[in-house]
């Protein structure tokens, strides 16, 4: 790039159009992967292309994806929250406890969201207030939150949720369109707008790329990060409502191991684990891909662990392939 050819007073806004940018994007790659998996599933199983079955399949990922949206923002800002699955457990336990006291659905929802917010605030305070590394703090709160559920519940279960509460995890808005999937779609749009179209989203990217410079530029780093952990807690609370409603019961081992699946979803969606880049459409695609893979394999009665091998390979290869490809092209060019 010799600068001599550029007339300095006339720098173009962009060098390439929207189409060209999209073509080279991670999302394009994910769309190809998603299409291949969709077609593969349609050929492999006669049951795949059935509206009710597809609708059932969405339950495999909707709850995780809700958290993944907020997690994407956290990771883009250069942090991570491994306590989300434990927040689900604690929120669910709190709701179950409330049910024993005879509380009705609206209050249950408020409790679920409230516990999520409180847990998020605890994470946020430890991380932004005391300046501790989020990966370690949330490994700690991951044990703490689920540990509290174990203390409250022990080997018991809470059941007896009110009939009306079942709607969140089992209800349908219209025909095959479940409440959960509708919520997922709405949240996808909301988070897409928040991250890509607002000042807040811009601040998230700035923090992820260079926290110090962002601070010097007037971004309220601590406040933004705190908000992000609150949001993740809130989403975990929401997911807890959906999951608890779907299961109709609470045990302390609920949603065990989900944190890694959520992180996998976010990374597969093209979010840089080191912070600074990533998009919500990417995360949506990754959620769809993971949902289709598990459902497709399920239809073939492939054990879950084989699916996780596949997801593991997918995770490494979608990141490795572009790197190898770029390298090969450079070698050819030489």
């Amino acid at each position: 790039m010799a600068h001599a050819q550029l007339s300095p007073r006339n720098i173009p806004d962009r060098l390439e159009g929207r189409g060209a940018r999209l073509l080279r994007s991670w999302e394009a790659l994910l769309i190809v992967v998603a299409t291949v998996i969709f077609l593969g599933n349609s050929f492999a199983s006669p049951y795949f292309l059935d509206p009710w079955n597809l609708s059932d399949a969405t339950f495999n990922f909707t709850e995780k994806a809700m958290i993944a949206f907020a997690m994407a923002l956290v990771i883009i800002s250069g942090e991570i929250d491994l306590s989300v699955a434990s927040i689900i457990a604690l929120a669910s336990t709190a709701m179950g406890y409330a049910v024993q006291l005879g509380v009705d659905t609206p209050v249950l929802v408020a409790i679920g969201l409230g516990v999520g917010l409180v847990c998020g605030a605890v994470n946020g305070l430890l991380i932004t207030g005391l300046g501790l590394p989020s990966i370690v703090v949330t490994i700690g709160t991951m044990s703490l939150f689920r540990g509290l559920s174990f203390i409250i519940l022990g080997d018991q279960a809470f059941t007896g949720y009110p009939e009306s509460f079942a709607w969140f995890g089992q209800g349908y808005v219209w025909w095959v369109l479940s409440f959960e999937f509708t919520l997922f779609a709405l949240l996808a749009v909301a988070y897409g707008v928040l991250l890509h179209k607002t000042n807040f989203g811009r601040a998230v990217y700035a923090i992820g790329n260079n926290q110090t410079a962002a601070l010097f530029s007037g971004v309220r780093v601590a406040r933004v990060k705190f908000t992000l952990f609150l949001l993740t807690g809130l989403m975990a609370g929401l997911a807890s409502i959906c999951l608890t409603s779907r299961l109709g019961s609470t045990r302390p081992s609920i949603a065990l191991g989900w944190e890694l699946e959520v992180v996998t979803m976010v990374v597969l969606g093209g979010v840089n684990i080191l912070g600074g880049s990533g998009t919500i459409p990417g995360v949506v695609l990754a959620a769809l891909i993971m949902g289709m893979v598990t459902f497709g394999f399920g239809l073939l009665n492939v054990p879950g662990i084989v699916m996780s091998i596949f997801i593991g390979l997918l995770l490494i290869s979608v990141i490795a392939l572009p790197i190898l490809w770029r390298r090969a092209r450079r070698r050819l060019a030489h």
């Binding site: 430890l126 005391l130 300046g131 501790l132 590394p133 990966i135 370690v136 703090v137 490994i139 700690g140 709160t141 991951m142 044990s143 703490l144 939150f145 689920r146 540990g147 509290l148 174990f150 203390i151 519940l153 022990g154 080997d155 302390p252 191991g257 890694l260 992180v263 996998t264 990374v267 840089n272 684990i273 080191l274 054990p303 662990i305 084989v306 996780s308 091998i309 997801i311 593991g312 390979l313 995770l315 490494i316 990141i319 490795a320 790197i323 190898l324």
Partner: protein, 326 residues
């Protein structure tokens, strides 16, 4: 003098363990009997060995989430080898487990080194893959005590000068790691690479290759632990040590190994593991509900990071301009 001593993270941790033991002794004096402490040490041996490997990786500013899965796979292969060829000498089986562990570590290391994939992503991926491989290898079947040869199960329990071989092995690993970390170029390179990767290049250290070696080391130690685990508990199945990766990392964090790399010591890793080991062993003895264990270890981790971070911050402050006193 005392204040200076107290600043030292390891001494603080020794103090914390001593206080913990004293508290337990109040409710159950038998716990601190030398015989029982030796038993607790023995029970913590595997965690210590794993924490040493994780320490090397964390020092280079990486992380190995696949250690427990690696352990499980190597343990299963060791058990399968033993079941298939009961005559195979045990040292050979141990070497095979370590070699396989090293190989799995090499895969992690290569992906980090040659493809520049972030370590957390690599090991998140291989964590599921390694565990999945056990399933593919065994179809989910268990290998039980009666399928293992007596020699296979006996080795870690064998009494040598009053302590089981398992304890001796962990002591040996501590000694070896101490030597490696303090007296060899690669050990010092771990610190340099994690402390300031960019600067490491200028001193002739290959950052990627150093990380690769750290993963080989953690993999090999995971392989060894795989054999030890399976022979000690005399059973091998897909889910052994599931979730143990977090215990390993917690031990390192409690031991003052900075997750940002470059800071930490062998003593810290060992003490961190012992701290967790004491808690784990004490809870059933002093009749604290087993359900409280998780919450307790979570709280301990949070306190440990907070304390370590404070210690670091205080030291980091350089007061350049002293008042006109001089």
């Amino acid at each position: 003098m005392i204040a200076k001593l107290l600043k030292n993270r390891e001494i603080l941790l020794v103090g914390a363990i001593a206080v913990l033991l004293a508290l337990i002794a109040l409710r159950f004096p038998g716990f601190v009997a030398p015989f029982n402490l030796a038993r607790v040490y023995n029970d913590t041996s595997i965690l210590i060995i794993l924490a040493l490997g994780q320490m090397a990786v964390i020092l280079t500013r990486c992380i190995d989430l696949s250690m427990a899965a690696n352990l499980a796979l190597c343990g299963m292969v060791a058990a399968m080898l033993n079941a298939a060829f009961p005559g195979l000498p045990i040292p050979l089986i141990i070497l095979a487990a370590m070699a396989l562990g090293g190989l799995l570590g090499m895969i992690n290391g290569t992906l980090v080194w040659k493809l520049d994939i972030p370590p957390i992503v690599v090991t998140l991926g291989t964590l599921t893959i390694y565990r999945g491989l056990i399933f593919l290898l065994t179809d989910g079947k268990w290998i039980n005590a009666h399928e293992m040869s007596d020699a296979f199960k006996a080795l870690p329990r064998l009494d040598l000068a009053g302590m089981p071989v398992l304890s001796w092995l962990s002591l040996l690993m501590i000694a070896v790691m101490f030597l490696v970390m303090s007296r060899t170029p690669i050990g010092r390179a771990f610190y340099a690479v994690g402390g300031h990767p960019h600067a490491a290049v200028y001193t002739g250290i290959d950052v990627g290759r150093t990380r690769f070696f750290a993963y080989c080391l953690s993999g090999t130690l995971a392989g060894l632990s795989g054999y030890l685990w399976v022979s000690r508990y005399a059973v091998a199945y897909v889910d052994i040590a599931a979730g143990f990766e977090l215990d390993i990392i917690a031990a390192c964090v409690i031991g003052g190994i900075s997750i940002a790399g470059g800071i930490g010591s062998v003593a810290g890793a060992v003490l961190g593991a012992l701290f967790l080991g004491v808690i784990k062993n004490a809870l059933p003895v002093i009749n604290i509900s087993p359900f409280a264990q998780m919450a307790i270890s979570g709280t301990v981790i949070i306190i440990a990071v907070a304390v370590n971070a404070r210690a670091e911050r205080r030291k980091g402050r350089v007061i350049l301009r002293k008042a006109e006193a001089v």
